[in-house]
């Protein structure tokens, strides 16, 4: 079963960490993807650019509205994701607990709905 691990953290707090710490966290995340790959649990993963680079697109009544930034006023922003294969929720949670972002922010574990008709990669 597929799970999406959404890493949320406070960007300001993250930026206050030292360059070395941030680099180490990234390396640790990459290392985690290799471990997952070796176990056949890896599907995809990436960090995201800061929320300040985001755009919001809405289409209402055929009209397109494009605005800047996320409109939810929370300190925690999505900072990256891991798409994984896990046997069940407990296994997904165990993997989530190894995501370095869990130590400074939160990792949301979302079961993925598997639908047919999608292109295979």
């Amino acid at each position: 079963m597929k799970y999406l691990l959404l890493v949320h953290h406070d960007e300001e707090a993250f930026n206050e960490l030292s360059e070395t710490t941030r680099k180490e966290m990234l390396e640790e995340s990459v290392e985690l993807t290799h471990q997952l790959h070796a176990n056949g649990q890896y599907l995809n993963a990436s960090p995201l650019h800061p929320a300040s680079t985001a755009m919001i697109v809405q289409v209402r009544g055929g009209k397109q509205f494009v605005t800047d930034g996320p409109f939810v006023e929370t300190r925690e922003q999505v900072a990256g994701y891991f798409l994984i294969n896990a046997q069940d929720l407990n296994e997904a949670v165990r993997i989530a607990s190894h995501v370095p972002g869990a130590r400074i922010g939160t990792v949301e574990v979302r079961p993925v709905v598997e639908i047919t008709g999608l292109p295979t990669t």
């Binding site: 046997q87 069940d88 079961p111």
Partner: protein
């Protein structure tokens, strides 16, 4: 077959339903992989039992019979529905091949206990909200109806039903596994199970001050769950919690007067405390302590045990109680425990010492809106004959409590001051 025999069989079936249905359900959930399918299968199996047992007699191992009948009924049902939903064909086949390779009936006795633990840990899974954990536990493990749960928690049956439906959907959709946690995860997961039990117990215990009798049954359900848990998993804190619940429950009858007034521990008729529960509680505390690491429930039970052992209030060993509160503060520091410790200190060293400890808690800004801190403070001021201060604290306590017997008690104290 005569009417008399049929009646007898249906009585046997009822009896077996009461004693075995939860175990059969727990096993069927594992075999069928789904709560709703398992519940349906359980009811079908019992329906078949009424018919078949009156014809052929009660089988030697009714539980195994019910499990195997339930799973065949479930597979049948899947085949029937498969005509409309092709995905079920594969599932039915898969389930059937599993059964033919695993000798369910022979292995059943060994694994059935694990099934009940699986059910307990799944109902109390941290992915479910606390309300959902409680509703699932009472529904699936205790076998209470949705109406009974709603009545006990003073909510609408539709609210409880919705909580259960959502919890089952989450178990299915997020794929919460039906398993006993690994050794590494066990302490955290067990905490969650114990918390559910203690919440259920307290809901019943504090309700016994009120009117509703059905709510009182929650304490008995919690104690039953506690017994089941220590039978399956005799972890020290599980023993400690059961001891704590039994020792509290032993005083149930004496906590209120016949007219429904609150009776304080020191004024209770100790000859009416339930000796059987006390004896069992004391022995469980001993067992829990002898296992080495002593947790919060065990320490609370040890405190309750000291009260239970004093045949008169004045004989209470307050020094030991204070020592246990000191340990409890190390395990689980909290202002409420600090307050209880302060009251114990007041009992040993006098109200003035206790009062300064309570004032220190309040000065920090803790427990400002907790009625018992003001009630305790009022009581100490009363004993020190600081009438004006006592009045202020009683009034503050009164403004913060909603429970009728407590309100009446505080009112009584307030009038006595004048």
């Amino acid at each position: 077959m005569s009417d008399g025999t049929i009646k007898q069989v249906s009585e046997v079936v009822d009896e077996i339903y009461r004693s075995e249905s939860r175990q059969v359900l727990a096993t069927l959930i594992r075999l069928l992989g789904d709560f709703d399918t398992a519940e349906e299968a359980l009811h079908e199996a019992f329906a078949v039992a009424v018919d078949q047992w009156s014809r052929d007699g009660v089988p030697a191992n009714p539980r195994a019979w019910l499990v195997s009948t339930g799973r065949f009924k479930a597979i049948d049902g899947m085949r029937r529905r498969a005509r409309f939903d092709a995905s079920l064909v594969e599932l039915a086949k898969q389930l059937e091949s599993q059964f033919s390779t695993s000798h369910v009936e022979e292995r059943e006795d060994e694994i059935v206990e694990d099934d009940r633990l699986r059910l307990i840990f799944t109902c109390c899974h941290p992915a479910l909200s606390s309300e959902a954990q409680i509703a699932m536990t009472l529904r699936e493990i205790c076998g209470l109806t949705t109406e009974e749960i709603a009545c006990a928690f003073l909510t609408k049956p539709s609210t409880v039903a919705q909580r259960i439906v959502r919890a089952k959907a989450k178990i299915r959709e997020a794929r919460i596994p039906y398993e006993v946690p690994s050794e590494k995860e066990l302490p955290d997961r067990l905490d969650a199970v114990l918390r559910v039990m203690y919440l259920v117990f307290n809901e019943g215990y504090s309700a016994s001050l009120g009117e509703s009798l059905t709510r009182h049954d929650l304490s008995s359900e919690a104690i039953r769950l506690g017994r089941l848990l220590i039978e399956l998993l005799p972890e020290p804190e599980a023993l400690g919690l059961l001891a704590l619940m039994l020792l509290h429950d032993s005083r149930r009858k004496t906590r209120t007067s016949p007219s429904g007034e609150l009776v304080l521990l020191e004024d209770q008729d100790r000859s009416l405390w339930n000796r059987e529960q006390i004896t069992e509680g004391l022995s469980l505390v001993q067992q829990a302590i002898s296992r080495g690491v002593v947790g919060s429930y065990t320490l609370q039970a040890a405190i309750a045990a000291i009260h239970a052992q004093a045949s008169r209030s004045v004989e209470t060993d307050w020094t030991q109680i204070i020592g246990l509160y000191d340990l409890l503060m190390q395990v689980e520091p909290s202002p409420v425990i600090e307050l209880n410790r302060a009251v114990a200190v007041a009992m040993r060293d006098g109200p003035l010492v206790g009062l300064s400890l309570i004032d220190a808690i309040l000065a920090r800004g803790d427990l400002q809106n907790y009625h018992l801190v003001h009630a305790a403070r009022a009581d100490l001021c009363r004993r020190l004959e600081r009438t004006a201060e006592a009045r202020v604290s009683y009034e503050r306590a009164l403004s913060l409590t909603k429970q009728d017997p407590e309100r009446r008690f505080l009112h009584r104290r307030l009038t006595e001051l004048r």
